[in-house]
Symmetry: C2
Subunit: 356 residues, 2 copies
């Protein structure tokens, strides 16, 4: 494998066309993409090139057999204007755990990190400086071999694209505890960040929204009783002064924000327990007054405060305020933007390492 | 919606370059593709055009969130050389059942059938005349909107491509009863022909093959005891003179071959029962001598004869011969190629309706 990344920059950046105070969600892309091809058993030709459509054979296996995985991460500017990445090594590891479950080749972690740093350095001007804004990064891998038949592909592309995202308003959300549809079951692909998991969630989420809820609370496949995740986020509950979150059982995504929130809560002196959590247990905690807060965690939103959980049977009231979750959210944002000390050395600078 | 299909044919067909007696599996494609776009809430611009790579934005949602479904079917030549389709209306219906589960728009069944007929007529010379050969057809739909975010896409492509396939040797297969990984769970997407289901099966199938087995026998997600499917096929067991097959519970694919085999077995006077089938029940039937045959059914292979089922605990011997399954397979093949009467009026002619 040759780790030398070739860089072909655009002559004229489109960044001046973007109003950083009014960024359309999810459909503005930066000038470039990072691309690497897998062929003959190795990753070759890592390159940063102008963002453009990729000529894709209609039999490209990802479109038929779903070998497609991704990561989500964000780049921020520190007070000196240096681009910063949040725990990128966690994403480099996780995409390979996803690859393993989906029968896809591992992508070298070193090249993942180096490619990401160089890419972010090239796209530095696209990182919104506004409070709460960031450059969303989307590394992904998919099977692009043209083949009709069920087997692992032999040709893949690893790509990173980026989209600036404006400040998020963390409105309090209402969850629908879904007892018919599931997102994932043990032995399935729930722990992988695989395209198919997200596709499975789209219709149930639409149904929940039509009932007036914001997100689906996903329950286990066997009994529809044990809590897995919320929407595309992990979930935490505060019962008195203990925080509980579903344990990783193979059907729960190993969230980087989940792990970070656990460490920050412990850093602040709270007890955090990973365990099997039933909906009934949360209902009892609500009834007896010990349920103080609940929130979702994920890269896209950060922390989403949960107000109530509805289901076919009843409504579980959570809370009108989320003081500890807000404190954690603020702390996390300040660490990511270099405004406070980084107690765990999470931040990595994306420095310019090549002349363009 | 405008159902008029525009046709742009290649000047020179590549069909003469193909050795019909030695067709490489899954990687030879015909000259054209059928394409239709979904935009602004409707399907527009149905067209048959030269097969070529499709310019695909790297943020195309199918590559990230897995909204991708497909169908598999085959075209045959009848003794007069007329192209024939096998129960195409079943595939037209099923792709829309898949679309519904995956939050994707329905494709008009009439246009599916008309597009398919015209497409097959254009590609008629690609249908191998050899016994047991056919032109495999792959209708599929995927989200091609460039968007980062979890919601149903607003832009899709519906495409049909085709690949000639040579005669299949139906070797007797050994199954591995998989008790760790699952293909699908109730409430999931198992009944949909969705890309993600296939991706989930790739790694477990590789593991089964490394143990010396040909395909995975998929069991239920909750107890790893009830039989769902085999590989990408439905499964039947013959216990004495009764045929049993897993009932459709939302995690089993509604196979067109499954339905056809059930009807043919009944036509020949056999009792067929759809029910919950446990691995223990099959083991007991093997032990007491009442298990006579087992076979998989699917479009790609037709009927696959099962010899034995291995698992962590023991091996269930099925049979060394599959006389009834072979009779059904022959009958099915003769119906598809117009060599015997078509008792259920399954075959549909793909006649040339436009001058080229």
């Amino acid at each position: 494998m040759n780790n030398d990344i070739s860089i072909n920059q655009v002559k004229y950046s489109k960044v001046n066309q973007l109003d950083f105070n009014n960024i359309p969600l999810g459909k503005t892309f930066t000038d470039h993409m990072f691309v690497c091809d897998y062929e003959n058993g190795e990753w070759v030709n890592p390159r940063i090139e102008p963002l453009q459509p990729i000529a894709t054979h209609p039999a490209a296996m990802a479109l038929h057999y779903g070998q497609a995985i991704f990561e989500g991460m964000k780049a921020y500017l520190d007070p000196d204007g240096v681009p910063m990445l949040f725990r990128p090594e966690k994403n480099a590891q996780r995409i390979n755990e996803s690859a393993d479950r989906m029968g896809m080749p591992a992508f070298p972690e070193e090249l993942f990190l180096e490619g990401l740093k160089q890419y972010v350095a090239v796209e530095k001007n696209w990182i919104p400086p506004q409070e709460g804004s960031a450059l969303y990064l989307r590394p992904f891998m998919y099977a692009d071999e043209a083949f009709i038949g069920m087997r692992a592909a032999t040709h893949y592309k690893f790509v990173i694209i980026a989209s600036p995202s404006g400040p998020l308003y963390n409105k309090r959300i209402k969850l629908w505890a879904e007892k018919q549809y599931i997102r994932a079951a043990q032995g399935g692909t729930g722990e992988a960040k695989a395209a198919g998991n997200y596709a499975a969630a789209i219709r149930p989420t639409e149904i929940a929204k039509s009932k007036g809820y914001d997100q689906v609370l996903w329950l286990d496949a066997a009994e529809h009783q044990y809590i897995q995740e919320v929407g595309t986020m992990n979930i935490f509950f505060r019962v008195n002064d203990e925080f509980i979150t579903p344990k990783l059982d193979g059907s729960v995504l190993k969230g980087v924000t989940r792990d970070s929130v656990m460490k920050l809560l412990q850093h602040l002196g709270y007890k955090v327990t990973e365990k099997l959590i039933s909906l009934n247990e949360i209902k009892e905690a609500s009834n007896n007054g010990s349920l103080k807060e609940a929130f979702g965690t994920g890269t896209a939103v950060g922390i989403a405060y949960i107000e109530e959980i509805g289901s076919d049977e009843d409504t579980i009231f959570v809370s009108e305020e989320s003081p500890v979750a807000e404190k954690i959210n603020d702390l996390l944002n300040q660490i990511k933007t270099g405004k406070v000390e980084d107690p765990f050395n999470w931040m990595v600078k994306a420095e310019i390492v090549t002349a363009s």
